[in-house]
């Protein structure tokens, strides 16, 4: 699949567009505040050892990542024994082709989809459309955005940027439903629309939250029941699963499951946990007759090889870093111009799709560190964003995809090298202070014409520059000035 280069200009344009969209800002703020509060209240009320649980989660994922090769082989072996067909896809193209070939083989022209970010990552829907095939989204949020031809704005809540009135209008326009705004009524419209699809479809595709190596099973977490319908009502179930989703045992997966749900929505448990261990067996009344699992690499092996960035493969896709990010709730996910937005997106998108394709997204972070603070598996997200900036300026380890193609900013390089020269020489530094003191007044008059400074004063008053600390200190009694 072709990856598109996004320039700084492109980023700036979409950011400006999103920032000025009042409705979007309002919707995002309301939704993010609700998700944050629900999480906080739940953790305070029910999880007395949340920090210990996070530590356990971190340990489970790092343990799995350090033995990923062996775990994947064990998963394949056990899943195959259970009658599941395991496929390996090294990149997006291969994954798409596996799905396409299965559809051809089974003579299927449409598939039903549960929610899956991996399928977004490989641009499956667009691929199938090109081939004249249909993929129908069954997750409520995914259905809404599919109707208006958008991509998910959030990892967990794909249509969180739309409020219920807007959704009512979308359903009226696209599904011919009566205009509604009550969540129950909206659900009813979606349910009626989808039920007929569930009755007739032969192939369903989902993601996978966890793959359990010891049992050869996959575990799907969802809230609406559509995942269960997609994985059981159809004759063929295909699950697309990033290779990093494999853990050793059910015990390990349950630790992650216990962290996932409160982090994602602030609910203690989900309505549906679907554990798929095999296709329908003799005498069983339901379930798919065939189960396929596609293990997707798509540059994850490369990520795994970096001694620092491999930690980002611990992500369990709960989205809580997005919910807590003060940048995400101002601009929304589309402004990141990548499948994965927000803090985790800034860390994994450059690694999955190439640093040179989405480097400007690394600037969409004030390094406030809140994402690292809330991440249930303790991925040091803010630190990794800073480390990726180092890769971007050419001072990293050079293992990130697209590292060599990234064009360096020579003006910034010049400024930073000048900064280091001045900050490592007391005399030079005092000259800088002297300049600040003596030119500070001019800045007040000419700030509009001075690059960088005008970016500051566009929204804030010109600061008071005193820069006379040394003379003040010399006047202070009892201070040793040496």
């Amino acid at each position: 699949m072709k990856t598109f280069y996004h320039s700084t200009q492109e980023y700036q344009e979409i950011i400006q567009e999103k920032l000025t969209n009042k409705q979007l800002r309002e919707n995002l703020k309301t939704a993010m505040d609700t998700l944050k509060n629900n999480r906080k209240n739940l953790i305070n009320a029910r999880y007395t050892k949340w920090s210990d649980l996070r530590e356990e989660g971190r340990r489970v994922k790092l343990k799995a990542l350090t033995h990923l090769d062996a775990l994947l082989r064990r998963f394949e072996e056990n899943a195959t024994k259970n009658g599941i067909k395991v496929h390996w896809a090294s990149d997006a193209k291969e994954a798409n082709e596996i799905i396409y070939n299965l559809m051809q083989e089974k003579k299927v022209t449409s598939i039903l989809k549960g929610k899956s970010m991996a399928s977004e990552e490989i641009h499956l829907n667009a691929f199938l459309k090109q081939k004249g095939l249909d993929a129908i989204e069954t997750d409520l949020g995914e259905l809404i955005i599919q109707l208006i031809d958008e991509t998910p704005v959030h990892i967990v809540v794909p249509a969180v940027h739309k409020n219920r009135y807007e959704i009512g209008e979308i359903f009226q326009e696209k599904l011919g439903a009566s205009l509604e705004s009550q969540p129950e009524k909206l659900n009813e419209i979606a349910r009626k629309h989808l039920r007929k699809e569930f009755k007739t479809f032969k192939m369903g595709l989902t993601g996978a939250n966890f793959a359990i190596a010891d049992e050869g099973a996959i575990w799907l977490v969802e809230n609406e029941g559509n995942g269960r319908m997609t994985s059981t009502a159809c004759d063929i179930h295909v699950a697309i699963c990033g290779i990093e989703k494999v853990v050793e045992s059910f015990e390990d997966a349950s630790i992650l499951g216990t962290l996932l749900v409160p982090s994602a929505t602030g609910a203690p448990i989900t309505c549906y946990n679907n554990i798929i261990t095999s296709p329908r067996k003799e005498g069983e009344k339901d379930g798919p007759r065939e189960v396929h699992v596609i293990l997707l690499d798509n540059n994850r092996s490369n990520m795994l090889n970096d001694r620092n960035f491999f930690k980002s493969l611990s992500c369990i896709r709960c989205g809580t870093c997005l919910n807590h990010c003060p940048v995400y709730d101002k601009i929304g996910g589309h402004a990141y111009l990548s499948t994965y937005p927000g803090p985790i997106g800034e860390v994994i998108s450059p690694q999955l799709f190439g640093l040179n394709n989405c480097a400007p997204m690394l600037d969409l972070c004030s390094l406030c560190g809140r994402c690292s603070e809330v991440c249930p598996v303790k991925i040091p997200l803010a630190e990794l964003i800073r480390d990726l900036r180092s890769e971007k300026v050419g001072q990293g380890y050079g293992k990130v995809l697209g590292y060599k193609k990234e064009v360096k900013n020579s003006i910034e390089q010049f400024l930073m090298s000048g900064f280091a020269k001045n900050a490592t020489c007391g005399k030079k530094w005092r000259s800088v202070l002297w300049l600040a003191k003596n030119l500070g007044g001019m800045g007040k008059i000419f700030h509009r014409f001075i690059p960088i400074l005008n970016k500051w004063t566009k929204y804030r008053n010109y600061p008071k520059i005193d820069a006379n600390l040394h003379s003040e200190i010399k006047k202070l009694q009892g201070v040793i000035y040496e």
Partner: protein, 242 residues
Amino acid sequence: MKVYFFATCLGSIAYSSACVNAIKLLQYAGFEVVFKKDQTCCGQPSYNSGYFEETRKVALYNMDLFNEDYPIVLPSGSCAGMMKHDYCELFEGHPEYQRAKEFSQRVFEVSEFLDLHSDIKLQDKGEPTRITWHSNCHALRVAKCIPSAKKLLRQLKNVTLVELEKEEECCGFGGTFSVKEPEISNAMVMEKVKDIQSRKVDYLVAGDGGCLLNISGKMQKMGLDIKSMHLYDFLAQRIGIN
């Protein structure tokens, strides 16, 4: 006991009164302050932009400069976090790692140092007032020195501290972030100001020059009459040593 005072770059350029007052507070608590005239910056501007090589040079310069075994005390949680925590990260896998680690253990933010290493008693001489407090992200999550700052403020009997609803949310400064992404930064500081306005206070107090520059600059541009003050200016004023 001797302590090094590190004013930081913003302290030297825009907050000299806060530095002077922080020094007076340290003296009031019984410490002898050493001010190195060759002091510069902690290195955050280059570090946060990913220029690690340049930053290592600045860090090594600081390690050489503050070479005696005195505590290094600075009036900024952000820079304290950089020198306490990030210096170690910066030298991970480098021969200077152990040196960075030892150095970092001598670094304290002023309020943290006063709280942990003195028995300072602040006698409030001011009129009753209502203030609110902004927590700097780096001070909160990296240096973890906010509880000390609040403890000092709570010693002031005529000061009512009204907490912000979204105290832990970034004000949008983020060093170079504020000029690299001015539009997003503005959206962030707008929300911070809205929160401050809702508290009906006389002062906004913060312990970090960057955030203060950002929030007060925005409030001035908006023409608001909420005053903003650096923590050490505020404390010194309340106890009458400014």
